[in-house]
Assembly symmetry: C2
Homo-oligomer: 474 residues x 2
Amino acid sequence: MLSVEQTPPVLQQLESFRGIVGDAHVYVDPEVLSAYASDETEDLHYLPDVVLKPRTPDEISRILRICNEHRIPVTPRGAGTGLSGGALPHLGGVLLSLERMNSILHIDERNLQVTTEPGVITEVLQNAVREKGLFYPPDPSSRGSCMIGGNIAENSGGPKAVKYGVVKDYVLNLEVVLASGEIIWTGANVLKNATGYNLTQLVVGSEGTLGIVTKVVLKLLPHPQLDLLMLVPFRSAEKACEAVSAIFRAGYTPSALEFMERDALEWVMRFVDNSIVPIEDDVVAHLLIEVDGNDMDVLLKDMEGIAAIVQDYDCSDILFADDAQQKEQLWKLRRRVGEAVKSNSVYKEEDTVVPRAELPRLLKGVKDIGNKYGFHSVCYGHAGDGNLHVNIIKGDLSDEAWNGSLKEGIREIFILVKELGGTISGEHGIGLVQKEYLPLVFDDVQLRLMRQIKQIFDPKGILNAGKIFDSETL
Amino acid sequence: MLSVEQTPPVLQQLESFRGIVGDAHVYVDPEVLSAYASDETEDLHYLPDVVLKPRTPDEISRILRICNEHRIPVTPRGAGTGLSGGALPHLGGVLLSLERMNSILHIDERNLQVTTEPGVITEVLQNAVREKGLFYPPDPSSRGSCMIGGNIAENSGGPKAVKYGVVKDYVLNLEVVLASGEIIWTGANVLKNATGYNLTQLVVGSEGTLGIVTKVVLKLLPHPQLDLLMLVPFRSAEKACEAVSAIFRAGYTPSALEFMERDALEWVMRFVDNSIVPIEDDVVAHLLIEVDGNDMDVLLKDMEGIAAIVQDYDCSDILFADDAQQKEQLWKLRRRVGEAVKSNSVYKEEDTVVPRAELPRLLKGVKDIGNKYGFHSVCYGHAGDGNLHVNIIKGDLSDEAWNGSLKEGIREIFILVKELGGTISGEHGIGLVQKEYLPLVFDDVQLRLMRQIKQIFDPKGILNAGKIFDSETL
């Protein structure tokens, strides 16, 4: 057994942690640690020293005071569905799971707001407010398992973002525990706010590096009553992308406008054992297009208008979803594309985003770069937002190329993204795996400001250390 | 003549300033200084030492380098239409007018974006994009004279915010000159962004204290083609406020939902010499309600639905605007209420905001507090957002009460606002005149974070020093 001197600082604090959260919620057994060693990012694993599952902001405050004093790294984690390694405890230390903070505290039907804890699963929250006729639009593909807290950390999007916006557009106010253990609210529960700096929007998308979000006040909308869905096959992927911006230029705002390359659709159909969509030989990509609202005549007119536009871009026969079941089937395919790709091969996912009309150039560029570096990519994503997920498939690529020259290819993709007016993550965050590319889009001044902000909130750098930027302290 | 030793630092730099912006754009004559001594806030006047009118980010960068070196206060100014004293040069120094930076640089019809300089008048921008069928919704009442840069500084709202959101919801990316003279972009021209901290949203609403915005990239929407407008008179102001949240609870999202007390409407009708609205004796407040969209049947149905709801709240005969001219007349009345109140008496305007359903309690509380402290208030505002402008009228109040005990009354209003879950400014900002009330809504920890952020961006505190918080350096 290690003497006290040799025991890592974090393990010296186990008794204190047990005193705070209770014995049952402090885990050091290897099996549990291993279950918290990965998120959904590539094939990465890092064991934490201890997993803590607090139940209250006060418990988190007391944990952070200890960790701050002893410079123990703290990695916050929701459901671990992230795709940039944000929840990976790569420095060991405390893995702080928010999963027990899973109560929806108050659905305020008078004000169209909900106050929730961060450990609530996104779909659970959506269904709970849906029962009151209300709508929380942000819906990452992982909505059945991801948590609101993680969505806030990454400023998540999802298919509805194109019409309804992303997480940041719904967050009114946050309760946050700072590294010091101090607890603040970032704003007020109001729709308009011109009172001091916008701390709320600074925390949204900060990937757990500025504080631990313990309560969330979200804006809700009346739930749209109707929607229509169609799947449009194209004989040219670039033409499919061109059709996207034509739809918006014509004045339509679909509630979803998703792009899938042929591989993506074929793989996911195999993956879910569900071949509802016959694909003609010359089809190379699809758009999945939804409109929603409260008047069927208007929706039908919108769908007709959009169908007329896509005809100009060399599309094949459009599949209009007949009923709720077929809509659900199509959406299931779209939502599970990521899993299907993952099950197919080792892969790396790049979360590129550009101004919408630049999508065709982005897609062409990705393929050209793939040819140059010898990799195959499967692309899909939220075309209406200009957000293209580029999945680079290991396939037959040598380990050498995979771990070596591929990085240059990724770098070229991101340089292209920047040239097109875009940036390197639309909704997955920078986390651990993208931080080396951050200097491609931010110069020293921007990075200095961000690092200094980090230092204000977390002077010793204990919170999700080494995410977004390399760790500076600890 | 003063010797060099006696000359204030700012006046020692006049030659340098002339070298940067040209002789013609450096002003020290008292008449010009006086024209820049006030904004639209109360009856406040502070003379700057010099007015500079740069034309480029590079000129601003060079000006700020000098001011930073010599600790010269710099007050940025758009059109000077602000209501919290943000553009008042209360410490003298440089008044930096952005009025010459008034070009719309690029209307990107492919991506539904516009890139503009900050000195463009809001309505000019709106009309320019309207010609392309596009829509920039944020429309402060002063839109005919206020500038985009000022709108960003204050995170302005306006009537359309209830459906379309405020300025922050449209800003994608900003070019900002820091106090050091360094020039950054805050983000990227994309609809979704999970790449580092959200510097864009930190600058929006920061009231010119973090940097000088020199280019602005805004998201645009397709312009709605149709709208309908009605004016609903109520026999109880609280019932009018109750009707507001009932409309939203029923699933309607009007494109404007404005509240006006009887005094406000009567005063503005006198002010614009326009008595299109006969007001029955027992009517004490009005709601102005607009719906917009692209389908007249839907709009008519919405209007009918809303009209049915307001009947339950003791309203009198609804006036439906007949045509474009009558709509414009009604909107003119609403937009000029502020001017009418101002012309009527010395006044102080409080920009309260609460969760929408708390409006009736806020209004009742404001009147009770008025009775207690002996002041009359005229209230109007963006009821759909819970944003109520409380205009406290000096009227017969003694100077002693006006400058003394009234502050206690305002303090009580803000305490009530806080109790109701709201905050002290919805769209006017804190500026100079509200900063003493900021500790009512933020504790020491929140204020410390904000002050530290200020220090990162502007270590010597030269930029709009003494706004939002008391000046700490210089």
